[in-house]
Amino acid sequence: MSETPRLDEVFGPARSERPLGQVMEGSLSTGLKVRLDPGFTLERMAVGRYVVILGRQTGITFFGLITDIALEASDPGLIHRPPQADDRLSLDVYLGEVAYGTLHVSPMLMLEADQDQPRPIKTIPTHFSHVYEASAQDVARVFGEEDETHFFVGTPLDMEAVQVNLDLGRFVERSSGVFGKTGTGKSFITRTILAGIVQSGLASTLIFDMHNDYGWSVKDESGRAYKGLRQLFQDGRVSVITLDENTSRARGSKIDGRLTIGYEDLEPEDVEMLASLLGLTDVQTQALYFLHRRLGVDWISRLMSESGEEDELQEMIDSGRIVAGTLGAIRRKFESFFPRMGFLVPGSANQSVDDVFQRLSMGTSVVLEFGNYGNTLAAYVLVANYLTRRIHARYVHLKNLAAGQKAEEPRPLVIVIEEAHKFLDPQVAGHTIFGTIARELRKYNVTLLIVDQRPSGIEDEVMSQVGTRVTCLLDNDADIRAVFSGVSGAGALREVLARLDTRQQALILGHAVPMPVVVRTRDYDQDFYASITGVAAGSASAGESLFGE
């Protein structure tokens, strides 16, 4: 056995001896321009790949990400006097000398000789420092090992042997987001991360599952079925609660409960979020508070009562407290919406909130399946808002008790909402529970996991509080800008984001990763199931337990 393979076995393959190029100019804020060595083919470079830069003067190792690739010429006149297509000599001579490639590298971390762990950069390598392709060992060193709190979410581009491990402790510590166009795999990535959170036990999750993607089996465009969280965790760590029992049963979902909301439990604040969806004007929205105050807890039932005009309502109109037209419009809009929602029941059904809260407190994650109601955005907004307001209030209460040492700290909770821009748009984010949670950070142990295809619709302040951003392909400029709001050096990363593959690739940056990384996300397949359930993928008994209850 030769010496080199033996060393490779111990230390991994050595970094290529030949540098990709040299640092030519740049700054800490804008990144570095690297002139590509003519020996390397520009067409083999790719944004999102890692490089290592050896500081010429200090020997500090810098880790960076290729964020742009460009063609440059030493003489601006080249565009006017290009070599003839059949002039082989000139073409070969010009390439690399007169016409050359440059890489834009965003330095992210630096590692001094006497340190074990890289840390965020405070300086940049000097002119002519050599830039190398990062080896698998370099990248693995940055992202560490998978353990109880570090969850394998994918592999860097072209480095299938290297795991990118998400620091789940930090992920749940602050609100996070999964963004991407429709059809880019947001739900798969979200489900993967949620599986990691459930497995780690670091937090309970409450998932408002609009499209029935998380709880039970889900099919992709080709009709292939994938397991939901309830199937992965059959030991009670995940419960499926449904709003639409018939649909859930028709889909074969195993459900653990049904959520109903009593009309008497609804408050004007719950309905206010629906103003734009129901077409309530500002005057009508304000009138809801007045009506609730005057009519009491059964205000909605009384407003929708078909047993003729109630005396009290007539008295309000007669006394000029409310305009008949306003009242009529509210009633019409209520009647067109509430009766269609089968999960709304007369009277009070507050035990549903208790049930969900109890499960979350015990460390059980709850997937709230909307069934067919997921097609009605107003239903989704109503339920998510209703439940979150009440559960958040309980967390605040518990946290305050814990501060006074009268109760234990509430278990961290991650609330997953889809179509998040409906809850967090600049018009409403300032006064909704979701805006409040996003701004509170981890003050009350409740954070959000926002899943959205239109991050530009989310208020800037909320976006800037999102700690970890997992972003699949986005091609709308406004959405790309939004994803990077509050991120230093984001300009360069925009190019990376805009060039992701449409499937199974994501840019992860922020609180839970040491540096931005483009990953090919982990396959959601039998190996994944096996790693989550701890049952070998190939075993016969595993096959049965993986696919059925």
């Binding site: 003519p38 030493s74 003489d75 006149g77 080249l78 006097r81 002039d87 000599l89 000139s90 070969d92 001579v93 010009y94 690399g96 000398e97 007169v98």
Partner: protein, 197 residues
């Protein structure tokens, strides 16, 4: 000793930047524009290497009179061209020097000695000196010379000195060296490459 079949002539005028001399009548067909040549300095410690950039024959009254004749007898023409001592002069631009085992692509500390014999560089000496095309820098930096044409001619002679199978590689290597030097001056680079093809 350099691999030549003898000196092509002797130096008559020199400086650290260039040297000129007269060509022996027996060697009239050997020096060429762009050929590498060498001569030793006054102390005999360094070999100064140049590229011939000019070959000329000065006129004189007899030559002018003969040229004016309408019917110049063939015998007289042959006598004037072959037997008469009309000196052929050459000029070479210094492009480096050899000191001990080292080749240095820069101007030498001292010029060659007057009347020193001048040899054409050939064989292994030529391959060794032109192994790098760094001599191009001094040629391109020379004012008042047809530097692009001279460089192309010098490169052609360096290419021709190499085995057939190595010529393309060397041509590309040398071309890239020149491209690096003329990266900001495309017209001159085009001139060199155009003359090299």
């Amino acid at each position: 000793m350099p691999e030549t079949t003898g000196p092509i002539g002797r130096i008559t005028r020199c400086s650290t930047q260039s040297f000129s001399g007269a060509v022996h009548p027996s060697a009239l067909s050997r020096p060429a524009f762009g050929a590498f040549c060498q001569a030793e300095d006054t102390a005999g410690e360094i070999k100064v290497i140049g590229v011939i950039y000019d070959l000329r024959i000065e006129d004189d009254p007899l030559a002018r009179q003969m040229a004016a004749l309408e019917d110049l007898p063939a015998e007289q023409l042959a006598d004037a061209q072959k037997n008469r001592q009309a000196p052929v002069e050459f000029s070479a631009l210094t492009v480096g020097y050899e000191q001990g085992d080292r080749i240095i692509y820069a101007l030498p500390p001292r010029p060659p000695l007057t009347l020193s014999p001048v040899f054409l560089l050939s064989g292994q000496d030529l391959l060794r000196f032109t192994g790098e095309a760094s001599f191009a820098r001094l040629i391109l930096a020379s004012p008042n010379l047809p530097s692009e044409q001279l460089l192309a001619a010098a490169l052609r002679s360096a290419i021709a000195a190499r085995p057939e199978g190595d010529r393309d590689r060397y041509q590309l290597l040398a071309g890239r060296t020149v491209a690096r030097l003329l990266a900001g001056d495309l017209p001159r680079l085009e001139n060199v490459l155009g003359a090299l093809r």
